[in-house]
Amino acid sequence: MKQKGFTFEKLKFASFDFTCCEGCQLQLANRESTLPDFLGLLDIRNFREISSERHDDYDIAFVEGSISRSDEVTRLQAIRKQAKILVAFGTCACFGGVNSLKNRFAEGQPAAEVYPGMQVESLPVRKISDVVTVDFSIPGCPVAKEEVERIVVSLVTGSLIALPKYPVCMECKARLNTCLFDLGEICLGPITRAGCDAVCTTGKTACLGCRGPAEDINMPAFLELVKERGLKEEDLREKLAFHNAFEAVAANET
């Protein structure tokens, strides 16, 4: 991909998954209309989901899922050693995701309940950056393929990548949705980072904050407005905890 004055190289790409549903990796194969072009940007060195060929000379690793077993820690550390750029891919990787809901229970209790009498290892769920350094995060449950495409293109072209800093409401308004607060629901749109094109609120369900907090959010004002409207605090707590993405913010508030 040599151009006058520019040199672009395919990304030596690898994709790995840990504790997750693999939905984010699946997105890599979605948006079929541009899929061949998208794959054309990648030199796939290791991607178990779609290829049985495996090489360990990748530069960039997309890591999906959260960490909940000791063998995963070892695998992740090996990936970090090899990869020049390690991307936390998806909400599980960025924040722990829904898997973190398990952490509400005493360590060992879930395993004892589901596999009575068996030895099943399961550590408290951690996000990738709790274990190794992350160079870039692509949040979303699942990730938005359009955004992923843009980010991959910018990795190839060497332009710096950035996620939107503003909240989901911007995109929600652009889609002319009726605000869910007007319908009497709590929506995390005002505090959640945009970039998903407000897909949930457009489907008329509340944003659950899978993309994590937007930049510099006004949490006190948000909590205040939920209270003022007489909406259920319990509902709010359940939503904030859903993807574990507001953990850091909540810790600051209290």
Partner: protein
């Protein structure tokens, strides 16, 4: 029940639509072209420091090249297709109709990409935009040019102008400060300015490095070195906001009238045409009303400094 007689015909827009407000866009009366860039080829790239490079551009189309004129102090929007557009001051002489020079610091998205391109790459420019330094009004007086860091970039155009019309000016003092000596730009031109153009150049750095024999301190320290008649002198000050605020109030104390001090403001910009509103300072557009303002106006702009 689709009926042809009720179909609204499509209307194209044309030049006449804008006849009532013939825009002054680099003498191109065709407003339709304000979004179209002049295609340029990068003819030379000089690395100045670790952070700055000087790009030499040549407008490819000869007609466009001959049409392009600018005034010292104006800027243009530099487009790198696929990456984005950034406002950059023109850093070369406005009598040079062959090439343009842009001194660019690697700062973010687009500028980082600019640092990876090689000679021969094609970019585009829109503009020139914005206000300029009142070179004609300054003629006949002394001039004080004060630059901090990258502020020397927009100062180069007026300096070229002064050098090319040297007999019209009295004393010309250039005060130039940087953090460390290795960040001083255009050092290779210093001798030329001093010897040939009889410019009094004073440099200062905040922190000395090995081999530096010059002064260290703040830029305002340099005022101790010079004696100027504040009543007969015009000043142009470019640099980070903190710097020009300090310098201008210093000049004010020394008795220079505020409307003879000029500064170039920097704000985020996306269009260059007073439409995106990103560069607003109070209720003034940096891109059309500025970037060059006299200090009196800046004092009156809310949130300027």
């Amino acid at each position: 029940m689709h009926e042809v007689r009720f179909v609204i015909p499509r209307q194209e827009i044309n030049r006449e639509d804008f006849a009532s407000s013939a825009p002054d866009f680099n003498r191109r009366s065709e407003v339709m072209n304000t979004d179209r860039g002049f295609k340029c080829s990068i003819t030379n790239i000089v690395r100045l420091t670790g952070q700055e490079k000087l790009f030499q551009l040549r407008i490819i189309d000869p007609t466009e090249r001959s049409l392009f004129r600018f005034k010292p102090g104006q800027f243009l929007m530099l487009e790198l297709p696929g990456y984005g557009e950034v406002p950059i001051s023109i850093s070369s002489s406005n009598s040079n109709h062959e090439f343009l020079e842009l001194c660019i610091r690697k700062a973010g998205h687009v500028t980082t990409a600019l640092f990876t391109i090689e000679e021969g790459a094609q970019v585009a420019i829109r503009g020139p935009f914005g206000s300029s330094f009142p070179m004609d009004e300054m003629a006949g007086s002394n001039v004080l040019l004060i630059a901090g860091g990258l502020g020397i970039a927009p100062l180069r155009a007026p300096l070229f102008w002064i050098n090319e019309h040297r007999d019209r000016f009295g004393d010309v003092n250039v005060l130039y400060g940087a953090k460390v000596p290795s960040q001083l730009l255009f050092t290779y031109q210093f001798d030329e300015w001093k010897m040939i153009n009889h410019i009094n150049l004073h440099t200062i750095v905040e922190r000395a490095e090995e081999g530096w024999t010059g002064r260290t301190g703040m830029i305002t320290d340099l005022f101790e070195d010079i004696s100027i008649d504040m009543k007969k002198t015009w000043a142009i000050v470019c640099g980070p906001p903190v710097m020009f605020k300090v310098v201008c109030s210093h000049l004010d104390r020394l008795g220079m009238p505020m409307n003879r001090m000029f500064v170039s403001l920097e704000r985020r910009m996306h269009c260059g045409m007073g439409k995106c509103c990103r560069c607003m300072v109070g209720s003034t557009f940096t891109c059309v009303d500025g970037p060059v303002f006299d200090y009196w106006s800046v004092m009156n702009l809310k949130e300027a400094i």
